[in-house]
């Protein structure tokens, strides 16, 4: 029976049966099956976003239509492709490495000492078997909820693979943990989920990398990341998006910060064709600090729509956001950011800066930095600036013997340097510098 349903699902339709088949294939407990079905019903009930919705005015929701869609999780036999092996080996001595190919885990390692200290770093299916209570308590219950939007409901119904990172109280992990999501099956729908639970006073760095080689048929990614910091936790989160140009993605990264926590996040957007990402920080406890950095570089006809929220719900909280977007060729970037300071969230500091660099005729950059402030004893500023390459700077560099291309490259590097200087991960920095160079040449 389940084999039959599984085949129907593979035949390529998103249906209630496909949800059941998915749950059966992974032998999930009844509560998860019920959770998926409830989410499926929410998906069917919720309306498609309309182009007239404020959030969708600049990205056509029609791009994300799910016709002929195939939920992922298929085994693609044989050895790992060389590209994937290289991508997995690119990380220097991570404390843990989780590699998923087309939503199936193909490699999982975790420093033995860390495992002994109670750290969980695995895919969601394994976590569901080995730590069901952890998931039952935290998976899409408090941070991101299925009924928020049609896409989040769909994600909740069809999630596969995913990564769970749980750091017990007081445990400090110094080396980064890396979760690599790799897609090389064309025409797939994937629903990657990242769940980070940082216990009281814990410390960790998580790098999630989404990578795919160039493909032909469209791939749709509907991603959700939930990051929860208990009192005093310190987390660094790097989200690296390097999809191939056949991928369209809609996703959300939401963090909830309790008392005296620090979250340092960096979003890197380099790949994909149309990418719409929300990055939200909810500062829920006093003394919480959220650093939100964003680096986006679009070329060709890439479309990046980034929406950020700095939500201050408690006193003495600090958020500091800097997004730098460069666009080249006919690429388009949209930054829309909101600082919301709730009634009573006094002594708040909230900063938001967006800098856009337009490198070619035909490229576009929109900036919509919004403020909703309901407290008066605070410091809140936002700034946005959009400009092109400064000819004087180029001329100066060229007068020192650089070609125009080299000079441009140097100016763009300088544009992003302010961001990268704030990320003390040497290996990551040099990797990003290389990728920015490649974009300039492309």
């Amino acid at each position: 029976m389940s084999e039959q349903i599984g085949q129907m699902a593979r035949a390529g339709e998103l249906t209630r049966d496909a949800v059941l088949a998915l749950s059966a294939r992974h032998a999930e407990p009844a509560w998860m099956r019920a959770f998926r079905l409830a989410a499926w019903e929410a998906f069917e009930r919720l309306p498609w976003p309309a182009a007239s919705d404020e959030e969708w005015r600049r990205t056509d929701p029609g791009v994300f239509r799910l016709e002929g869609a195939r939920p992922g999780g298929e085994a693609s036999g044989g050895a790992l492709p060389a590209d994937l092996q290289r991508a997995a080996a690119a990380w220097e001595a991570p404390a843990g490495l989780l590699v998923q190919r087309n939503s199936l885990t193909v490699r999982a390692s975790l420093d033995g000492d860390l495992a002994r200290r109670g750290i969980v770093f695995t895919d969601l299916h394994t976590a569901l078997r080995e730590h069901p209570d952890l998931l039952r308590q935290h998976f899409m219950t408090a941070c991101v909820k299925p009924e928020e939007t049609k896409f989040r409901a769909l994600h909740a119904a069809l999630w596969t693979g995913g990564a769970v990172l749980y750091i017990p109280e007081g445990v400090e992990v110094t080396r980064p943990l890396v979760s690599l999501t790799w897609i090389d099956a064309d025409g797939l729908d994937i629903f990657p989920h990242t769940l980070v639970i940082a216990g009281r006073g814990s410390t960790a760095t998580l790098i999630t990398a989404a990578v795919s080689p160039p493909g032909e048929l469209p791939v749709f990614s509907d991603s959700v990341a939930e990051v929860m910091l208990a009192d005093g936790a310190q987390v660094r989160l790097v989200t690296l998006q390097e999809w191939g140009r056949n991928v369209v993605e809609v996703g959300i990264i939401r963090s909830i910060l309790a008392r005296d926590t620090t979250l340092r996040s960096l979003l890197v957007g380099l790949g994909g064709r149309v990418v719409k990402t929300n990055v939200e920080s909810v500062l829920d406890g006093s003394g919480a600090t959220s650093e939100m950095l964003g680096l986006v570089f679009g070329d060709d006809r890439q479309h990046f729509d980034l929406h950020t929220v700095q939500e201050h719900r408690a006193m003495h909280t600090l958020s500091d956001l800097l997004y730098k977007n460069a666009v080249k060729d006919r690429a388009r970037s949209i930054f829309s950011g909101l600082i919301r300071v709730h009634y009573g969230a006094q002594k708040t500091n909230a900063f938001q800066a967006n800098r856009n660099l337009i490198l070619s005729e035909g490229a576009k950059a929109d900036s919509i930095p919004n403020l909703e402030i309901m407290a008066n004893d605070l410091r809140c500023t936002h700034g946005s600036a959009t400009s092109r390459l400064n000819e004087e700077h180029l001329f100066y560099l060229m007068s020192r013997g650089l070609t125009r291309e080299q000079a441009m490259q140097m100016v763009v590097e300088g544009f992003f340097a302010e961001l990268l200087d704030r990320v003390p991960l040497e290996h990551l920095r040099s990797r990003l510098q290389r990728e920015i160079e490649q974009k300039m040449v492309a």
Binding site: I358, K364, L371, E372, N376, L378, T381
Partner: protein
Amino acid sequence: MAVTNQLGIDPDKYKWGFHDPEKYVYKSRKGLDREIVEMISSMKDEPEWMRAYRLHSLEHFQQRPLPTWGANLAQIDFNDIYYYLKPTEKKQRSWDEVPENIKNTFEKLGIPEAERKFLAGAGAQYESESVYHNLKEEWEKLGVIFLDTDSALREHPDIVREYFGTVVPPEDNKLASLNSAVWSGGSFVYVPEGVHVDIPLQAYFRINAQNMGQFERTLIICEPGSYVHYVEGCTAPIYTTDSLHSAVVEIIVKEGARCRYTTIQNWSTNTYNLVTKRAVAYRDATMEWVDGNLGSKLTMKYPSVFMVEPGAKAEILSVAFAGRGQHQDPGGKVIHAAPHTQSVVVSKSIAKDGGRAGYRGLVKIYPGAKGSKSAVRCDALILDDRSRSDTYPTMEIDEQDVSITHEATVSKVSDEQLFYLMSRGIKGDEAMNMIVRGFVEPIVKELPLEYAVELNRLIALEMEGSVG
């Protein structure tokens, strides 16, 4: 007798809250349909094209949904509004002929003083139709036309027909279609080529009947190389139910001309003030909006400048003050549709006693608008922990050769500033007042003197009792 209305405002204590007993020659019924629109048009004895225009606009109004963004407009009952009232049968030509009770109202507003001191010509609108109109001879000699729009339609039908509805089409938004269907009064200004009107042209508007809407329509045409400063100021008495003010202002600034449009809006705090103001600036022309919003329950007003030829410039200065029960949602839009166009937007908003003030704006740079520059600055001051400030700027940039900046700050009055002033012997109230005046100073200094005085006085009034 002291009657306190729902907003908690004691009308007896509201300085500008007096009102005359209603005395009308004709009073139309509430509500809006084809019959009312036809009647307005026939009462005014309008040409056929205007009647058709009104009816077309009405159709559009009825089909168009209310805007879903911004403030909640669902409370407005469009069927509970008088769409047209006519105060007197005949047009008044000289001040002596203006009815006594209307004069009294103007007296309290200070119009005669302004008249004596300053005015080149003033069309004062009382209810839905202008009753007083005075145009100094010198401007007539220069060929400047300053009329209420109804008279302009009769006396200069060709000019009105050429420009009317070209800047704000009736399909632009729901409130603009409403105005296009039922407009009455407003000012018509025509400045011939090369003429500089040195003294500001002023008009005062008032709402004075319960549940009455006011839908004035202003059209200003600046021929090449001309200059005019038009000043619109309004104060209104207090009533207990909501009234609606929905104006449309269209301005055409031709090559090398400059137009400044100044508004000090002080509608009583039960008025919905939903206004469409837009200018088109041609080659090397300059359009300046100076917009002060103190009154009304809700103001949604985004003066716009479309810079359609090279070298056009736009400047928008906006002050908003929101007290108890008020929501000020003003802003501005600058559209760069030609190379080497420049815009500056400065917004200062103050929120107090649970009020909500802010800025909503758009900077749009079309492809090919090379060398364009835009700078937007929004500052907000929140005076207590119950009030709210919103900033919603949008920047859409489709051209690489540009320089666009936006900055905003939100702050409170610091205890240090207050302490410093008080240590110099200045009382708490006055110190707070000085700080707020300093905050809005960059915009107040752009106002004609008497308006600057009035704005400062109104802010002082709003600030009463804000410390201690």
